[in-house]
């Protein structure tokens, strides 16, 4: 089967982001961008399934600006076979992303879609579930273990209070949690090879998807700060302060 892995280009997770002083958003100019960490885990999982003989082909997809090609090349350098870039300069919300991915899934007929549970920029945690709904496929979100069987997948999910294991009929959507695997680094020869791997370019219009935003962002601001308090010298002083000053004991 084919595995489709959607990936997003986001501000690198090590970058401390800055809110623009005029409240129009987050500063993205001259900031290091990388593949969304949860998506890297998704690429890794797809590659491991291919290496285990459970899949024949891994296709990475990204929806975003021309520069998202770099993110796709990263996926190709990790070992994906080919890439699809749906190019648009407008920000695309999860619902529209899911609609475009539905079009790609219908064209490519993958047996499995693996994607990050959320992107670390807008923290929406929606796209995978939405894609599953639009395709009327089963979903296994927040996965920490994936086992492919005959026509189904057994997925262990991270839920509140522990783990839940579900079985989903294939094709299905799996979204990754942090502890599913540890993604590999691309080797230099593979980075070179990735430059020659096929990359198709499309637009949202090719899939008949209107990407007009449903949510209007009125303002983006810094979170309310928390001031540093005081240092106490001893455990006795700490207990005293917690009892009398803070009143929490």
């Amino acid at each position: 089967m084919k595995i489709l892995v959607p990936v997003k280009r986001v501000v690198d997770y090590n970058v401390k982001i800055r809110v623009k002083p005029d409240g129009t958003g987050v500063e993205l100019a001259n900031v290091k961008m990388s593949m969304n960490p949860f998506d890297e885990i998704a690429v890794e999982e797809a590659l491991r399934l291919k290496e285990a003989g459970k899949a024949e082909e891994v296709i990475v997809v990204s929806i975003g600006p021309a520069k998202a090609e770099e993110t796709l090349r990263t996926g190709l350098a990790m070992g994906a076979d080919r890439a699809i870039l749906v190019e648009t300069d407008q920000p695309v919300e999860p619902l529209a992303v899911a609609k475009i991915l539905k079009g790609i899934a219908e064209a490519e007929a993958p047996g499995l879609v693996i994607m990050g549970k959320q992107a670390i920029d807008d923290d929406s945690n929606q796209t995978g579930q939405m894609l599953a709904a639009l395709l009327n496929w089963g979903q296994a979100t927040f996965a920490s273990k994936v086992e492919i069987g005959e026509g189904s997948a057994k997925v262990t999910r991270e839920v509140d209070g522990g783990l839940q294991t579900v079985e989903v009929k294939l094709p299905a959507i799996v979204t990754t949690d942090l502890r599913l695997n540890e993604p590999r680094y691309a080797s230099l020869p593979n980075i070179m090879k990735a430059k020659k791997k096929p990359l198709d370019k499309k637009t949202p219009a090719d899939f008949g998807v209107d990407t007009t935003a449903r949510l209007t962002v009125l303002k983006t601001e810094e979170p309310g700060g928390r001031k540093a308090g005081i240092k106490v010298a001893s455990v006795a002083e700490l207990v005293e302060k917690l009892k009398t000053e803070a009143g929490v004991l």
């Binding site: 999860p94 945690n125 939405m130 509140d160 839940q164 579900v166 209007t216 929490v248």
Partner: protein, 309 residues
């Protein structure tokens, strides 16, 4: 029109996450109906009916709904969504699983993890792990919303709503439940605890974590948390992780022991009422958000603290 609130529960009892999301729902305005979907969930439905401000409880009781699988639950919510212009749920693992599915079936863009209600269509929500706050206005006719419960007080009791039965649509059979491995504990749940004691990488091992953090937590009647570094190192289980990618908590007292204070962790606990940091590195970023900082060796200080209480 009315608001539908999806209850978080374990069939017999209602999670206080529901009462917190109810506060958010009430500030949107309109009659609030609570949907309790489960199997043998009369107990949870009765508890929901007692919450102050609930106009009606809808109980969908079926074996297919026993394990909170997203597909049948989404179909159920969509089948009754016509009567509501807002569908809201606490941002728990189960609601985060199902609500975007509902939103897509209704062709609505979900508003995730709101921390403030500005008006019926405008909300604040954190982005970039809480490092920026967005104010967003929905243009969709129906709103689908999840609520970051740490940002809202729980609604009280005092209601006496009626409980009505609704039937679940036929099963689509896309997925099935295999097993649960839910850790049972005498300790309070992280997301509802008044006090949390959290340990970080400085604990050094799972044994030390148990030896030093747990007795202090038990003395305080506290829940136990951990930083991502401690979880990744195997000192503590996944579901103890506090942070942007773990649980977001806001207890009255948060004690961070041997936690340096990565942005990722701060995003999960910075709304706590009082923060205590115990760390041997006096430059650790955790001290920048702590109300009370104690510099020193946690292996000496935590047992001392336990004795002093």
């Amino acid at each position: 029109m009315a608001i539908l609130l999806l209850a978080e529960h374990d069939n017999s009892t209602l999670s206080d996450q529901t009462a917190k999301a109810l506060t958010a729902a009430k500030s949107i305005g309109g009659d609030v109906h609570v949907l309790v979907a489960g199997s043998g969930a009369q107990g949870a439905a009765d508890a929901a009916a007692k919450l102050d401000g609930v106009a009606k409880v809808l109980l969908a009781d079926s074996g297919d709904l026993a394990n909170g699988l997203a597909e049948p639950l989404a179909d159920l919510i969509v089948s009754i969504a016509g009567d509501y212009d807002t569908l809201i749920a606490p941002a728990t693992a189960s609601a985060k699983n199902v609500m975007p599915r509902v939103a897509a079936l209704l062709d609505v863009m979900q508003i995730s993890e709101i921390t403030e209600v500005i008006s019926a269509d405008t909300f604040k929500r954190p982005i970039y792990a809480g490092n920026a706050i967005q104010t967003v206005q929905s243009t969709d006719a129906k709103k689908v919303i999840t609520v970051r419960t740490a940002a809202f007080q729980a609604a009280g009791e005092g209601g006496s709503a009626s409980v009505e039965t609704v039937s679940a649509p036929p099963k689509a059979g896309l997925s099935s439940f295999v097993s649960d491995a839910i850790a049972s504990s005498e300790r309070p749940e992280l997301t509802s605890a008044k006090i949390i004691v959290s340990g970080g990488r400085a604990l050094g091992s799972a044994e030390k974590f148990k030896e030093v953090i747990l007795p202090l937590a038990d003395k305080l009647g506290a829940a136990v948390g951990a930083s991502r570094a401690a979880v990744d190192a195997g000192y503590a289980p996944n579901d103890w992780q506090v942070g942007q990618t773990g649980k977001v908590v806001a207890p009255d007292l948060y004690i961070a022991a041997g936690i340096s204070g990565a942005i990722q962790h701060l995003a999960g606990m910075k709304d706590s009422k009082v923060i205590v940091a115990i760390n041997k590195d006096e430059e650790a970023p955790i001290f920048q958000v702590a109300d009370y900082g104690l510099v020193g060796d946690l292996f000496e200080l935590l047992p001392e603290l336990q004795k002093a209480l």
